[in-house]
Subunit: 677 residues, 3 copies
């Protein structure tokens, strides 16, 4: 891993000077300096300008841009410019166009109109990388390489004949022989047995539900094909240039790439995150994405490559950010481990599909709320430069596996109301409200440092991962597994003998039948909670029953169980609790596991601690409309100065405190009554 850190928290944006006359560039640099910008991503969609026809390169304008930026003291995250091929590629090589499952060709006019398995695209893109890297490897402005852009965002799945051939190669690598593939895919069902590799295709539109393992493997293959592009570009870059390499992930809402498997292929995990405007509390989704980015980065600091100063353009209703929201959002990412805060984009476009996307410099110019907040944030980041390199404290892990996501949402399942991220968000939200930070990690991660592990909807689970959770519990940990977990193995084959297959022994339960609920139907539990979507005919064979259904299709049947195992305990939740019930459950789990928040804070005041050895910093972000008082001692870095035991965070504001008495012990407790009880 090459070092990507600078002197502080990186600050900047995508910068697309090619969209503007050169006269604008000097003003850009001046405004960047005013905003204390330190890093801009350049050239991301410049292929058509850099290589106007095959093999003829034009670097003049880019030379001038990089020189200007360097003169301005601004670092450059230089793109390989392979994100979207020029129109000449599709025109000369129409077989590079991707196809949907129904055969529809996807044409140029937007972006990313290429088949990810196309050897022609691969060759042409690597030739470009070689040219760009060769020219700028030694440019003093360049501090980071930016491979492509949001790989797979629009072309994650291609069903064309080129992709079909690549899929067959990938399957041969995975299975070796057809008998193994036939067994894994369960082709004895519905007369699907393959006799020749050439008979296999991507799961193109079929008369009815396609083979689920074929679908699952196609999702794996598709993630791997995108990853192959990243690896090929990085290998070439690393050979030619000394700077570290990254690409921008889309952790948080994007389902199609297994970023946990991609982490080794970048020198720094970089992520793009945008609020969901329709969400009444989008800061929770932000926190989840950040915690997940950190989980992908193995707990190391990471880079927020893109977020927005205000509205985006691609949602149905693109809400602007309220005053202060930009600052809260950016600093929440830093609180959760980001050592860089970048935006899309520097200057709002005049033309094109993203012209209504907010920017650091709006259409209305710098005399705006947005640019004023941009300048304030630049100052903030400079003021907290010392947190760079520190890590986030967390005693809780939430298990996340893209394969489980893919599997859980295949078709012909018990109910469409069970989606993978639903309980993930619900449990993470309950932790957020409780003031507790969690890492979102892969089931293969080292769990030994945690006190509490949650496994929401872990439908597909490998034997080794189930065993790891068992070891965690037996070593003293507390675990919660929610319904529709442990159901299938890596081939999407049911684990027989009763649900939740892989976790049945650990949890001490056996479910004989799923009882999904009707749309909108609610049930009550005998502890007063309400639930919907899902119930099960469960036998608490080796477990204590904590709550049972009071009504619904299964009155008296257990809904929440707990089994002591080794030095720890394994909880099972067999229904979908509402928010209040989820909060109460999480409070019980935290109490049992001995986890508590960094400091006591009112709900809605987000508090996260970063630590570097003996030094620690407390981030407090007040999302409420009331001033908050927190029991903190130290120095507030954003202008507040010393605080002696009480930190006031005004409504909507943020504080970052270098804590005085660095806590040396764990942030948790084992004895004494739990405040959360």
């Amino acid at each position: 891993m090459r070092n990507w850190h600078g002197a502080g928290i990186w600050y900047g944006a995508d910068y697309n000077p090619e969209q503007w006359p050169e006269e604008t560039w000097a003003e850009d640099i001046a405004l960047m300096r005013r905003a204390q910008v330190t890093l801009v991503s350049v050239g991301i969609f410049s292929w058509a300008l850099l290589e106007p026809e095959p093999g003829r390169f034009d670097f003049g304008w880019l030379d001038r841009v990089l020189d200007l930026l360097h003169e301005g003291g601004i670092g450059v995250d230089l793109a390989t410019a392979t994100a979207s091929p020029p129109p000449w590629l599709a025109h000369r090589h129409p077989e590079t166009l991707p196809r949907r499952a129904d055969g529809t060709v996807l044409w140029p006019g937007g972006r990313q109109a290429y088949c990810p398995s196309s050897p022609t695209y691969r060759d042409r893109s690597l030739a470009l990388v070689e040219a760009v890297a060769g020219r700028y490897a030694g440019h003093p402005a360049v501090v980071l390489w930016h491979v492509s852009n949001e790989l797979g965002c629009h072309n994650a799945h291609c069903y064309c004949d080129v992709s079909a051939e690549a899929f067959r190669r990938w399957l041969r690598d995975r299975y070796g022989d057809l008998a193994t593939l036939n067994a894994a895919w369960g082709t004895a069902f519905w007369s699907q047995r393959y006799h020749d590799w050439a008979e296999i295709n991507p799961p193109r539109t079929a008369p009815t539900f396609a083979n689920p393992t074929q679908q699952l493997d196609f999702l794996r293959f598709s993630s791997d094909e995108q990853r192959a592009q990243l690896r090929a570009e990085r290998e070439l870059l690393t050979r030619i240039a000394p700077q570290p390499v990254t690409t921008n992930f889309m952790i948080g809402g994007f389902k199609h790439l297994d970023y946990h498997s991609w982490a080794p292929d970048v020198d720094v995990v970089a992520n793009d995150h945008y609020l969901t405007a329709a969400d009444p509390a989008p800061q929770l989704g932000l926190a989840l994405a950040a915690d997940h980015s950190r989980g992908v980065a193995g707990g190391d600091p990471w880079l927020l490559m893109e977020h927005s100063t205000s509205a985006v353009n691609w949602q149905p209703r693109n809400l602007a950010k309220a005053p202060g929201q930009l600052r809260r959002n950016s600093l929440a990412h830093v609180a959760r481990g980001a050592d860089g805060v970048l935006f899309f984009q520097w200057r709002a476009s005049r033309a094109g599909a993203e012209k209504f996307h907010s920017a650091l410099v709006p259409h209305a110019g710098p005399e705006t709320k947005v640019f004023r907040e941009v300048c304030r944030l630049g100052a903030d980041l400079r003021a907290i430069a010392e947190v760079r390199g520190s890590r986030v404290e967390s005693d809780v892990a939430i298990l996340f596996d893209y394969e489980a996501w893919w599997g859980a949402e295949l078709d012909s399942h018990p109910t469409v109301d069970v989606t993978y991220t639903d309980r993930l968000a619900a449990l993470h939200g309950a932790l957020w409200r409780a003031g507790v930070t969690a890492d979102v990690v892969h089931p293969a991660a080292d769990l030994s440092g945690y006190r509490l592990v949650l496994a929401p909807t872990l439908y597909l689970v490998r034997d080794a991962h189930a065993a790891a959770l068992r070891r965690f519990v037996e070593a003293g940990g507390t675990a919660l597994v929610t319904y529709f977990s442990g159901i299938v193995d890596e081939n999407d084959h049911i684990r027989l003998g009763g649900y939740p297959g892989a976790f049945r022994d650990l949890l001490g339960v056996r479910t004989e039948e799923f009882f999904p609920l009707r749309a909108g139907e609610r049930v009550h539990l005998d502890d007063g909670a309400t639930a919907d979507v899902w119930t099960e005919w469960l036998h608490a064979e080796q477990a204590e029953v904590l709550a049972s259904y009071a009504d619904g299709p299964l009155p008296g049947v257990p809904a929440l169980t707990r089994r002591p195992a080794g030095a720890g305990a394994a909880w099972y939740l067999a229904t979908r609790l509402d928010e209040a019930g989820t909060d109460r459950l999480v409070a019980r789990l935290l109490a049992e596991a001995g986890v508590r928040p960094p400091v006591a804070a009112p709900t809605g005041v987000e508090v996260v601690r970063r630590r570097d050895g003996d030094r620690s910093w407390l981030f407090a972000i007040n999302h409420t409309d009331r001033d908050a008082r927190l029991p903190v001692r130290g120095t507030e870095l954003l202008g507040g100065g010393r605080c002696d035991g009480e930190l006031v965070v005004p409504a909507g504001e943020v504080a970052v405190v270098r804590e005085e008495a660095a806590r040396t012990g764990p942030s948790t407790y084992r004895d004494g009554p739990s405040a959360a009880d």
Copy 2:
């Protein structure tokens, strides 16, 4: 018709041993014997295993399975295995793949990925049938042949060039010359006149509404093409093997095949039926499907080829069956004429698209609610073996014509809210609540044995069928016709002069204009009923007005009329009554027709009588949560023993009584006040 009856009620399931290691098979046989299974369907999706490459057959495993079953005393419904071709067919003959109206190719990966008009598919499938039938014609386990599986379920309509050529051939057969076709299709409209047969295509995606008669004929053609496969397989089977032949229909919800026309092509009508989970009272849909299956079978016993022990996998929310519901469902089918009760499938799959479909042996094994209920049902069926061969008593017929369905739901109609099965289900439901059993029959059926005939939404009606209804009424019957009936002839040409064209004279009314209602709009009738969806500007020229609109767009206009005709009477209902209004109307019709239920029973207690000469059996299925008491005398066969005038059917339970004093007269009355009044 070859005889398909065994010693009692057939009991069993689809059995797919090829999905399991052979070690499992012995346990399967043992569990089948425990459950008293007598018949299993084998080999339905085995083509790819039986013929792994073209022309090379592998029957070894199937030999062993059949021998084991025979040793276990279990009969076999042996599939021709043509339901879904192996991947090699599409790979070697891509022109066999079906296409949607928009040209999308449907690929292998699911099932049934073949063009129903493909000569290649036909040839290869018949070669397989010949091989299978040749090998097993003499096997002692085989008692029935199962052609294909749910023909047309996913490939009912193919728009490819092969289908286009077949469609043209079919049209030449139907019309002889182009002038006749042009007249039938009304091609003077919109410049559609054909000058050459080669100009004609299936109704592929067009810029706007396609010619309705073209659409209608394509639906007829498509049903006939599927039927041709059945006929071809049956002809071959009958030549080679002595056993009777069937295939599983999908009567109840499947629109695309005209099963009334198919009945002569099977030795026994077999049907698949699954509950609609979103339906709060799915037992009504079950009863309707069963009554329709019986109607297709001409009143003879039929075979329930598939239903489910609990949840299915292909609905949005797949609800499990409550305890007892499996038994009620199965015995309701028997009550309504089924002499066999089979399920999909024996053992729940580990892999594949249907792995979450319930089975007789669940993933959790035999120590489950489901398997216990399966065993109980096996005993029940053995206990009532004597009903085999008897027929269901019914004085009411509901007319059903697939052509009317197809026509009624073509595009560019007065309102999308009129659907064909809406009033069918509403009227059948009102009869169900009234305790009265009805046959759902084709308009060409012999109506002379009925007292009451209902014609819901019979949009398309041939002259002969309208005349038959008139004869029925004039001979003393009572008939009800509902709105949007009699509108067009078999070419979908309007019957001019006023609606409801074909029935105008019989009903004595003339409608000059339809007045469909807005979405959600309700009107009131002057008899207190409420209605929605549809009203008409109707003149009761020769009819008595029973109710008129009190409000809505046509206040004072008649909504319900009655015309005495010959010895009977013809009623017309011109609006869509709500459930209470429909119940009241049906009560009046039953009273006028002199029809009453087998015995008086509380609503929700389903009572049906089967009869065989002097012997009769009363089935009573209690769908309520209260015990019911019925005035019955005879011997309860499911363990209840003798009952002397009062039969107690506990909540959720079923009783089958061999009646003591076999009723020799009709089950109806002519004089005395009607209990339903």
Copy 3:
């Protein structure tokens, strides 16, 4: 412009005798005479009959029809019959079939299955026009030529390779060189720069949002391609035949053709209009379409080529017209400038996709409400023949630009809730309720005769058009601009410096950021109004603030402003007021501009004045269920006779008064208090 007027108001329908046996024709003529029909459109979909195979024509039947009509004294609007090609065209020239953006071919079976850029279609259609015009140019029945039919209704946009080639030609004409195109399309964004014209395609389905200027230009191109067919047919007709030429526009709901640009290509603007059945007050949409037709016609009389006597067939729920509604609808069109009232169609079809469309002669024949009302309308039109040629009085203009519509509804915009016609209809509706007639005109129209000009959602505006509005205001006019106006130039490039770009100076405001609202979210203004969908961070730099937000995301920010400019004033409305608020705003604007209705009338009584020099006629259409009394002096022409200062218009009825004291001054006032205040 050739003269198209007859002796009075034209009255008639589409007449498709080819769908009926010739025996019917004599009855048709007799019924037409009974109804006082004067003009019928013949031959619209007759191509397949007139030219059964390429180059062979059969005019016999049409000769006989025209002769019969002429004998009956009925004029003919003779179609060129090119509306829909015969099946042989697609069969022999499959490349003439249109394709959707996703590549789907649209096949014959409906109508208009041709690529609008197809040279083959062009050649064959012009050969037909030449044959038809050559044969009937001198026929005495023919008074008007009817080019094609609803050009572009179903094939407005074709994405096939033929269209692609035509699109490239069109772009070369527009831009001259690629550099100009690249600049206009903003291809520096997303690596879209074109290096070769051949690389350009229509905006076919792309992986994500396609280039907006490419989309916009494709919409322009598509309108021009359809227009080219009209121009080619008209040129040929004009060379061969002496009669005037028209085609039927679809002004009112059809987005895809820029009818303002088409007006010079017809001798008379003709329009088709159908009610939206789901609309509770469809007479408002009718009035808007009529006012827009008149605007397209430059204020001259126009022709209502199609409307319906009752229900149509192509909406989800096709409501019949209530008694009297047909008459109110037809006379409202005349009131608003129509000098002809025609219907689709004469006799309701027996077969085909439109058989459930109402007609002058229904399926039930002439003894019907519909035919009786048809006869009454014929008499009405004869009674008001004198209004022919007069013009409608209006002091208000609403600006409408198809390019603004196209631009405003491109994808990736701030919110999907802003649609182009939403505020158009809202403001027009408020005027309707206030009794004030408005012209809907292009921004390039001469505004000098108006007192009030409204510019709703004029997203895309050219510099010249913005300047014209400024001149209008400075000369003393009152103008209202609503949100999302003036945002972009003709290339869909943002006008920088703050919104609403083109109108910022005129309005004296600067918006720095849009704040769209959530779905269903409402805000309140400090004047008591409520609003939804849209708010803005607006600075009233040079304007008076009339109302501000009381809550929502921007409390205290201005929502309604007014800036005096020159002798007039410019108002800006930055949010979406509800109906009551819109009515109040419009009342204020009318008062300020000194505009009042022709006479005071209760809401729901539609009053419009037509004038011809000193003579004037007042149309009063009572849409309410109460009789209305209006202060009018003159002679009521529909049987009412003289009225001396009070005109009673019974509920649901219509009056047309030849006014006594022709008003010589303007219909507005400048002094005295405003009644609307």
